[in-house]
Symmetry: C2
Subunit: 217 residues, 2 copies
């Protein structure tokens, strides 16, 4: 193609104890778009940010010097709990969501969007096992219990962890066309769950005992 291509910038928002796959599942898929999309990492302060699983990722920008963002990606994770009280993050989300083409959250990330007041009057979802965490942030959100991901205007909220990868391909299909999303799924040998309404994990709503089963405690 010889026509000039619009280059979008995706801002991946890091905070301490974020969930690895919430962030990196979507970034894998968006990263496969090639030069049409640039991925930048941002945290309250630039520098290393420890994930919930241990490994550290580098935030290239702080909130203060972060460039303009077309797309936002907000992961969840156990670190969400501390961020519910972080006004600086909420203000950053409010400011940046206003100018973003798409603002995405994964897992408990939607609890932070809700706490910042961004989802009032909108449909949204969250991870299944800790669904109440999201719901308790705002009664003005139409919380959808059964969904792999939910799109409402610029906001796209995914269910737990792995659902973010399916959501990312859904957003790629919307912005770049279905065939691009399918090609990326093929390259990454990913069986894309294309139906946002199909939710194999809805039966686990608020079944927090699964966490103990996973950690063996």
């Amino acid at each position: 193609m010889t026509s000039p291509t619009r280059v979008r910038t995706l801002g991946a928002i890091l905070y301490p104890e974020f969930e690895l796959l919430d962030l990196y599942g979507p970034l894998e898929m968006f990263g496969c778009l090639g030069p049409e999309l640039r991925i930048e990492t941002v945290a309250q302060e630039a520098g290393p940010v420890r994930s919930a699983q241990g490994p550290e990722s580098l935030a290239r920008y702080g909130f203060a010097d972060c460039p303009a963002l077309d797309l936002l990606l907000l992961p969840g994770g156990i670190g969400t709990l501390a961020q519910l009280g972080n006004d600086a993050l909420h203000e950053f989300l409010r400011t940046r969501a206003r100018s973003a083409e798409v603002a995405m959250s994964v897992c408990s990330g939607s609890a932070l969007f809700a706490r910042a007041g961004l989802l009032d009057g909108r449909r949204a979802t969250s991870n299944k096992i800790f669904f109440e965490l999201a719901r308790s942030q705002s009664e003005k959100v139409d919380w959808v219990e059964q969904a792999r991901w939910v799109e409402d205007g610029p906001f796209v909220t995914a269910s737990g962890v792995s659902a973010g990868t399916d959501m990312a391909l859904g957003v790629i299909a919307r912005l770049y066309g279905r065939s691009r999303a399918e090609a990326i799924a093929t390259v990454t040998e990913y069986q894309w769950h294309t139906d946002a309404a199909r939710d194999p994990f809805a039966a686990q709503l608020n079944q927090t005992h699964w966490l103990a089963a996973a950690t063996g405690r």
Copy 2:
């Protein structure tokens, strides 16, 4: 449980232009095990390592000061090509694989294991689209074209990108029991492809045109 639990250390090996999901899909699943498993990141030199998709991750250790590792995880990615000529990496892999309980690769990571001579006489697989890259590293490897992942002794090699996450749960089932792996899949809302022999992407063997379709070029 009051019985003392053995704590394993997993070493995630980073190099420039590694594929994000090759690394972080498995680390998500292993990270959900809780205190029974510690994840450490290692690269030739400690410090920031840029991924193929752009974002940087931090290697906590260099090859020289890396602690003992029970499990190895070697991602693939476009950066594999440069590492095929990196003797220091091959020597690190040879030394560490010798003492590891399980040595895992994802995607083109198996080309690096093969180049280091570690897979001679063994069955192994690699990503589908660039399968020839792996095959061309050694004729003494029994390369399996159709497999989600392949286990042969301590070596476990996964097919492309997303297959690493299925492999990780397979290794978790082997080391910690099937119910732990299933609980982790539930917590992360991941539909685990449990059959290592089932390969939905085998038909794409060496179909490199998919990469152009993904990047839109």
